[in-house]
Structures are given as C-alpha cells and as structure tokens.
C-alpha cells in the first residue's frame, strides 16, 4: 500500500439524466504505483473524464473507495477536498486553463498561495519549475504571448508546484499540433523518469497514450481486462510518407517534404 500512489476499489458512478439512471463507471479497480506513467484510454463517453474527476477529488463515487497516497479520500468531507487537491494532486487540462491576467511565473505560483511558503520561496520554486520545462526566458509573459505548447508547459509547471503525489492530465495534447504533442509527451516522460512524478494521462489518442508505461482501457464505464505496456517512445512521422522524423527536422529525409 505504501508504494501505491493511487488505488481505487470497485468504483461505481451513477448519474440521473432526465429521469433515468446512467452508469458512467462500473466496478473500476485500479492500482497505480508511485512513479508510474499511466494512460487511461477509451472512446468518447467511455467514462475517462468521470474517472479522472473522481481520482482528482473533483467528484465522489456513488460506490467504492479511492485511496490517494495511502489516505481514503472518499471519506474526506467535501469542504476539505480542496486541501487534498492543493497538496496531493496536480491538474493539466486540454485547454491549458491558465489565468490570462497573470504571467507565467504568477500562474505557476498560484497553487502555492495559502501554503506555508513565503513569497520568495514561491517565486524561487516557480522559477525552477519553469526552467525545468524550458521556459526560463518567458517567465514574465502572459498566456496570450505564449504559443500553445508553451502554455501547456506552464500548465505542467503549475501542476508540479506543490510537489503533488500524482499529476492528472486530461487530454493534455488535445489542442496541440503533432510536433508539440510529441514535445509535451516527451517532457512528461522526462519528468516521470527524472523526478519520479506519478503521471496519469487521459486521452483518446493512441499515439499519445502509447507514450506511457501502462495503458488502461475504458469502455462504457468498465475497465477492460487487457492492459498494454506503452512503448515509451512516441514516434514522430512525416505526414506525407510516414517515415520517422526527428523533432528538429525541417525537411523529411524520405520524401523531401518541408516540415
């Protein structure tokens, strides 16, 4: 149990929709080790986001329990869940969801407000994180002056601000082009490898999902017994001829297409 970052037992989630009950999740049991890099995959409506919301303490299951870093968070009163989210969980979103009126470093500092860290400590930590994601020269920029990839990097740094037990990423590459998807997933992989951060990525994209160590599949709210190992390497290919290319290539070596 101590090595487990996250564990769920027999999770069910039921919604009432127009008078009838809808079962969004059914008997979902997962164990995630510390340092795992996991992707949860499935088609639209499979229950991925519902599961992510429960794992992230944004929602509670109808039945079942969730253990986060050894603590049963299902029993925590709703008014105290924000403490779990602040200290144990880091979020990433498809649309980045940075505060547009704050610059990069201020966005990264935001989750640290209300903690015991002083202003100086918060700034120092934010700078370190932004350097880690390769944005040390863009810390004063507001989101509208950053590219989509850069915004998502800021979001990664923000998610790591309070040293969370897990990072939950909901379609983190959904709004990015192929090259930037690759870069972001490579960055997440690097953080996982070097920092030991436990990362859970929810995605419908096979290529993105395969970047993780483990791939879980959801369908109709049920976890499929089949679990795959990820390839660790997310290949970047030429859109014309399909030959593998490198992130820094400007021309395809196979067909000469300008990239």
């Amino acid at each position: 149990m101590n090595d487990l970052a996250l564990k769920t037992e027999n999770l069910d989630k039921l919604y009432k929709l127009g008078g009838r009950q809808v079962q969004a999740l059914s008997d979902v049991t997962i164990e995630i080790q510390k340092g795992d890099f996991l992707s949860i995959m499935g088609p639209s409506g499979s229950g991925k986001t519902t599961l992510l919301n429960i794992l992230g303490c944004l929602d509670k299951p109808t039945h079942g329990e969730v253990f986060l870093d050894g603590k049963n968070v299902t029993k925590v009163p709703e008014k105290d869940l924000h403490k779990i989210r602040k200290n144990k969980i880091g979020f990433m979103f498809q649309t980045f969801n940075l505060m547009p009126w704050l610059n990069a470093i201020e966005n990264v500092e935001l989750p640290m407000e209300g903690t015991k860290k002083s202003k100086a400590e918060r700034q120092k930590r934010a700078r370190e994180l932004l350097e880690m994601v390769g944005l040390s020269k863009r810390i004063e920029h507001r989101p509208h002056k950053l590219s989509a990839g850069e915004q998502q990097r800021v979001a990664i740094a923000r998610a790591l601000a309070n040293n969370p037990a897990i990072v939950l990423a909901d379609e983190p590459t959904g709004n990015l082009d192929a090259k930037t998807k690759y870069e972001i997933m490579r960055l997440l992989g690097k953080l996982n490898a070097e920092q030991g951060t436990t990362i859970i990525v929810v995605t419908h994209d096979n290529k993105v999902g395969s970047r993780a160590h483990r791939m879980l599949f959801l369908n109709d709210g049920k976890l499929l017994k089949k679990e795959r190992k990820g390839s660790h390497l997310m290949k970047l290919t030429c859109p014309k001829c399909g030959k593998e290319i490198q992130p820094d290539d400007t021309f395809c070596a196979g067909c000469g297409k300008r990239l």
């Binding site: 944004l58 008014k79 924000h82 602040k86 505060m99 009126w101 935001l110 209300g114």
Partner: protein
C-alpha cells in the same frame, strides 16, 4: 503576507474589464453623489425654513410694536397703498406686499404732489405735526405677467428718501431708521451726506466716509443702518431739499406723515384731510393694523403651505434616497452576478488547483468592495462639488424667486411676500461624507454577497466542463 495574493488578485480582476469597471463606477458614484446631495439640500432647506419662521416672528413683533407706537400716524398720499394694492388693485408691488415700517410706508413711490399741502394740513384741528417725505426709486423697468394681468414694474436698485432734517421732527418722530450699525444717523443741518442701508453699501460698494455719486451729485456716507423690513432694505436717506434737487422734483413730495395730537382725534383728522383733498388716500393706524393682520394671516397661510411643501419635498427626497440605496446595491449585485457567470470556468480551475470555497468567496467580495470604494471616493468628490446643482435638479424647495448665485441652496432666495431669508448654500458636512462613503462600501459588500456565495458553491467539475 500570505493573504496579499487575494487583494492583488481581486484588484487585477477588477481592472481586467476596464470599461465595465468604469461604467459601474460612474453609475455607483452618481448614486453616492445623490445620497450626499439630497440630505444636504434637505438640511439647507430646513435651516432656511427655520430662519424664515424666526425672522417672521420677530418681523411681526416689530410691526406690531411700530404700529402701536405710531398709533397717531396718518399716512397721506396719492396712492391707495397696501390695502388696495394687495387686494384687487393694481397688482402686487415689486418686492412683495410691503408691510414696511413707517419710514417706508405702504405707499407707491412714484406719485408726487406739491408740498404746499403741508401748510394746509397743518391748519387742521388736532394735527400735531406734518412731515413731508419724498421717495423716488431708481432702477430698471420690467414687464411682468401676473394673475392680475401684465404690468410694468420698476425693479428698484435703491430708493432715495428725502426727509426734513429738522431737530424738532427728528427727535420726536421715527422719520429715520433706528438701528445704526456703523457711523451715525442724519442730524439737523446735514448737507451733502447720506445714510445707507446694508444693501446699499453692497450695491454701491462703499462704506462710511466714502464718497457716493447719486444721479450726478456727490455725497458722503455718514452712516449705515440695518433693517429686517423688506421695504426699507434699499432706502437711501438724505435731506428733503437735496432729494428734491437731484431728482428734479423741486417742491414735490410723495407722502405726508401726519401725526394727530392723540388717538381720539384720528378719525376727525382723517375726515378733514379727505374733505380738504379728495384725491388723497389716508392710512390710519387702524387701517394699517387691519392690513397687517390680513397680511399676517395670508403670510401664515403661505408659511404653512411652504412647510407642507417642505414636508412633501422631503418625502420625495427620502424616496429618492431609498431609490439610490437600492440602485447602488443592485448595480453591484448584477455586475458581480454577471462576472461570476462569465468566470465560471476560471472558478473551476481555481478550485481544481486547491482554492477553497472561502478563498473564492473572499476574492469576489473584495472585487465588489474595490468597485464600491473607488465609486464611493468619486461620488464623494462629485457630491461635494455638485451638491447645489444636484439638489436643484432633485428638490423643488420652497416657492421663491431666483435672486442670484449667492442665494440659497438651490440658487433661490426663500421667502414669503414681505419677508425673505437667504438660505445657506448646500455644503455637505464631513460627517455626512464619511457616513455616505461608508454606506456605499457597505452596500457594495452587501451587493457582492450573493454572487460571491454563488461563486464559492460552483461545482468545479461542472465549471470545468463549460467553455
């Protein structure tokens, strides 16, 4: 220092939507300015009404005293005087219905007759003294429409009053004003000198010992008098002969103040004068008292109407205050509700990254408060500067005539016929400014309460679903 972030965030969020914030501040500050101006106007109005009432009481007292002390006076002139002028005669004379003291008289100031009447009336049995007086007003002619028709009125700037400077008259009869506030009164033998009223000194811009030019002739000011009687407020006294000379009315006078030997012979003397001069009107103490009583009753009615107006005005004013209070809260409420709705996803993100319901609520409450503070300060400034103007737009005040920029809280002189008072210019007190400012901030907080609570209760999961 941990909580500094909340303030900074709230301030930044308010300044994110600059135009919206500006519009809200303008609307709120106008409400605040109204909340300052109306009570200020009401206070000024009340002060003026109280002063008017006090002046009226002392005015009536003076009148009755003067009538009693001049019980033996008969005023003789070619004009019908107050009684006829005020009731179906030639219309109201300029400046009200008079009620002036006996130095001013009730008579029109523009009808003249030969002073040979003095010696003739002196011969009537029972007559103790006959004092000729010349009164001539100088000013501008105006045409006015009244309930009685169209009339040409002389808007007097000052009135020359010539009286005989004879010691036997000056020492026995109230020919000149009694309340000298500076210098001295006129005495027997005076020549080339004048006695001015306070109003005259302001009009001519002179004081005691200064030179003054009247109708081309130079005079020295020897004294200044004070009076509460409207009819006397612009009188300028000099010797009768000099008055006749400068007005080119040599040998002419406008009235005779005839004193009977005693009260018992008044009627006889009055009849003898009328028999001698059929064209003359004779005003006795009795008729003056009767006129005064009628005027007093009318003035009481007017005062009561004015008080009723004031109560009604105040009721309207309090209603306007109520509307301003409600409007202030509603402006903040709807603005913040819209803001919360607009920022639902942002609220979801903040909750997802660990902000508590309390944090969220504090932030939105602070935003509402910042708007109110800024609006309160702006409103206080507008209220301080614009109270007289705003009050004029929103309060009808007592019935009066406009009398110039130095008059009254609304630019008006509050008055009733024969008696006016200068109301104080509406100036908000420091206490009122502080109370209204604090009230505005409180209303802003109250208006923000529900939206802030709603924001704090937003489900992060549902909020994040919104685009």
């Amino acid at each position: 220092m941990k909580n500094l972030g909340v303030f900074t965030r709230a301030l930044r969020n308010v300044s994110r939507r600059k135009i919206r914030a500006l519009l809200v501040i303008i609307a709120l500050s106008l409400s605040v300015a109204i909340l300052i101006s109306i009570p200020t106007g009401i206070m000024a109005n009340q002060e003026a009404a109280e002063q008017l009432s006090a002046n009226y009481d002392s005015y009536l007292e003076n009148m009755e005293t003067e009538i009693t002390t001049a019980a033996t006076l008969l005023e003789v002139s070619l004009s019908p005087g107050f009684a006829a002028a005020g009731f179906g005669g030639g219309g109201p004379p300029e400046g009200g219905f008079g009620g002036g003291g006996f130095t001013g008289g009730f008579m029109s100031r523009e009808s003249f007759f030969n002073e040979t009447a003095v010696s003739n009336i002196t011969t009537i049995e029972g007559v103790a003294a006959v004092i000729p007086v010349l009164e001539k007003s100088e000013g501008t002619l105006e045409t006015r429409s009244t309930q009685f028709g169209e009339f040409e009125f002389l808007r007097p700037e000052y009135t020359i009053v010539g009286v005989p400077l004879d010691d036997s008259i000056l020492s026995n009869y109230p020919v000149l004003p009694s309340e000298i506030i500076e210098g001295r009164t006129l005495v027997e033998g005076d020549s080339g000198v004048v006695l001015l009223s306070v109003n005259n000194t302001e009009y001519f811009g002179v004081g005691v010992n200064d030179q003054i030019n009247i109708l081309g002739s130079d005079f020295t000011v020897v004294g200044v008098y004070s009076t509460t009687v409207t009819q006397e407020m612009t009188n300028l006294y000099m010797s009768l002969s000099e008055a006749q000379e400068i007005t080119e009315l040599e040998g002419e006078i406008s009235r005779l103040d005839v004193y009977a030997e005693n009260e018992d012979v008044i009627d006889e003397v009055s009849n003898d004068i009328t028999a001698m001069y059929a064209e003359f009107y004779v005003n006795t103490a009795e008729s003056r008292l009767e006129a005064i009583t009628t005027m007093a009753e009318r003035q009481v009615d007017i005062l009561e109407d004015a008080e009723a107006d004031l109560v009604e005005t105040q009721a309207v004013a309090y209603m306007e205050i109520g509307i301003a209070v409600v409007a202030t809260s509603l402006i903040v409420l709807f603005t913040m509700l819209y803001t919360v709705r607009e920022r639902t996803q942002e609220i979801g993100v903040l909750k997802a990254i660990g902000f508590s319901n309390g944090n969220i609520m504090s932030q939105f409450m602070l935003e509402g408060m910042f708007l109110s503070i800024v609006a309160g300060l702006v409103g206080v400034i507008i209220g301080m500067v614009g109270a007289p103007i705003i009050t004029q737009l929103l309060l009808t005040g007592l019935s009066a005539s406009n009398s110039g920029p130095e008059q009254a809280f609304t630019g008006r002189q509050i008055g009733i016929p024969g008696l006016t008072v200068e109301a104080s210019i509406a100036t908000p007190t420091v206490e009122l400014l502080l109370i209204v400012f604090a009230g505005a901030v409180l209303l802003g907080i109250i208006g923000s309460l529900y939206p802030a609570w709603q924001a704090s209760k937003t489900s992060p999961m549902e909020a994040l679903r919104r685009e």
